[in-house]
């Protein structure tokens, strides 16, 4: 999967789960501080990413992902082109 495709899908999932418009989501945004993902929303977001990319994420690794950009990088690593 290309970085562009992953970026588009990460933003789309984030927007849908956090009730935002895709254009409001920027790569530097922190899921909790900038986008309002509390602990419950964070769980849903990770679940949504898992389903979107058909992955079973390692919880420990997923926890390290704090921003939209980091999520994109994370999935780029997991999903080779």
């Amino acid at each position: 999967m290309t970085r562009e495709e992953i970026t588009r899908r990460v933003i789309a999932v984030t927007a849908r789960e956090l009730g935002k418009k895709p254009e409001e989501i920027k790569e530097p945004h922190h899921f909790a501080f900038d986008l309002g993902a509390d602990s419950l929303k964070s769980i849903e977001l990770v679940a949504a990413f898992e389903e979107e990319f058909d992955l079973n994420l390692n919880e420990e690794e997923a926890l390290k992902v704090q921003t939209v950009g980091a999520a994109i990088d994370f999935f780029v690593q997991l999903l080779p082109e």
């Binding site: 501080f33 849903e44 990770v46 079973n56 919880e59 420990e60």
Partner: protein, 663 residues
Amino acid sequence: MRPFRHLTREEIQQATRQACRAQDWQKIRVDPAFDVNRLQDVHFLGAVTIGKNAGVITVGEIQRPCGIHHAIISDCDIEDDVLISGVHDAIHNYRIGARSVLLNVHALIADQAAACGCGVKVSVLNEAGGREVTLFPGLNAQLAYLQAIHKHDAPFQGALEQLLRDQIEAMRSAKGIIADHVQICDAGVIKNVHIGAHAVVHGVSELSDGTILSCPEDPVFIGPNTICRSFIICEGAHISDGAVLDHVFVGQACRVGKTFSGENTLLFANCEAFHSEACSIFAAPYSVTHHRSTLLIACLFSFYNAGSGSNQSNHMYKLGPVHQGVLERGCKTGSFSYLLLESHIPAFTVIIGKHMANFDLGDFPFSYIADEGGRSMIIPGKNLFSIGTVRDAAKWPARDRRKAPLKRDLIHFDVFSPYTVAKMRRGRDTLQKLYAETPKESDSLHLGGAVIKRLLLRKGAKYYELAIDRYLIGKLLSAIEVNLDAGLTLEAALAALPEAKPLQQPDHWLDIAGVLVTGERYQQLMHDVSDRSITTLEQLLDRLTGLHAAYQSDEWSYICHAFAQEYGISLHALQAAPLRELVERWQNAASSLQALILADAKIEFADFAHIGYGLTAAAGEKTEDFIQVRGSLESNRVIQQCEEDAAAIKRRSQHILHLLRND
């Protein structure tokens, strides 16, 4: 029989000069060493015996001579070295134990063969009745559970009631009893109350129809402005500051006070009840309510924590106060949470907000149930990685305050046990099935009265799977690690494991108010009571102790059963290669959960937690103010422990893999 004597004529004359009088001096008998100088302004009625009264006794900081002053004593037996002074009405029909003190007491009166709280029916779980528990000294959480919960079994209830009747009749005594070394000071009316050894009763307003089971090792304290009616209070309990209790059992080492009011309520070991109100609750060990605006009503709790303003009720209340709730062990209700009864809340679940649905969610432990725009959303498994759960698990056994030689309530503290793991396995299977069946277009669906987001079906199942792996594989590793460390081969290490006794219903476990037990052992006990093989309550208590003791071997049997089902291989027949895979699976599960716990703990130090700090500090010093008050992330002991635990998981798996290198 003690060699009491009558008073001599000279002693009677002296007593009379000291403002004493008697209905009939011939009915007053005393110890040979009795000192008449220690009587002043005493009016004797009926038959009275008095022991030697020559000693001194310490009251507060002051040593005072023993004796009887300014009192009406009617039909009493007074043992050695007692101080009685300032009885406004009378002491009637009591045995007063040696070295006891009664100072400034309005009245201490016992009717002939008064029940003293024995046989009082407490309407728990349903205010309108139907689940009554009979009080008697010797009641524990498990016996109360059998009385209240196992109602569908009429032969059992008939047999149990007979055992209770026999016990209660055997416990009646002609006189009220104040045991040795009791101190009662500045008290109002005390009527039909037995008071055990070394109890301190100070400033109570009223005690009636009750028994206080105090002992030297763990005295009871009942303090100012307390009212207790129809009660049993156990060793080590501390009740004070305006508590009002009516039809209540207070278990060992409970703390009750600060105007708490309880009615038709059972509080078992180490419960704490302050400020708030409880009505018809069955609070098994370690249930805690601390806040004024909380009303706990008609629920079964254990290891429970009530946030401020917690409330439960039958919203519509059409046919009277008919409602009951079950909150399994380890639940918490958040501030101003409301639960509509009837509801069944799974173990170790957190309730947040107001809920107008009837929940039936027993197979989804460790969940959050939160209000979201008027919908009750369940997040299964979220409480598996709450730092609060970890802290509670460590806290409960460390805070067992009971010091009495006999610990009445039987308690298993394990958070992860066959009881919770069997539920997680069923819950996981249900969530996975629902996930497979639910179209992706669905945002959410209903689950046991709550609403669950479709995505959380998969996530909840995954959390449960992690916890199941951590428990089952972790238990196996604990069992074989010591054998491998001793140099045994894997085959020998597995052969040295205990045999598993087959269980007929291995996934059926019960929590009997703190005791975890297999369904079949429980059923056998019910049968043995019903067919009258058990003939005394003592035998029944012994059997309950036996159930408690059987946990460890039954847990192992469960582990062997569940292991085979989960991983498709008998635990005793494991080969090195699949075991290595299981070690890695365990490390992944344990590390993942530990990382989630650590992340949860770190939230306590996030930026938002600094809000309100540094009000008088210069710019840049806000964090310093926070650190001074709350400490730093790096120095926090809980965080450090989490990090140490995470490192230990990795070390352990590496160590076991190393031990397996030659297999």
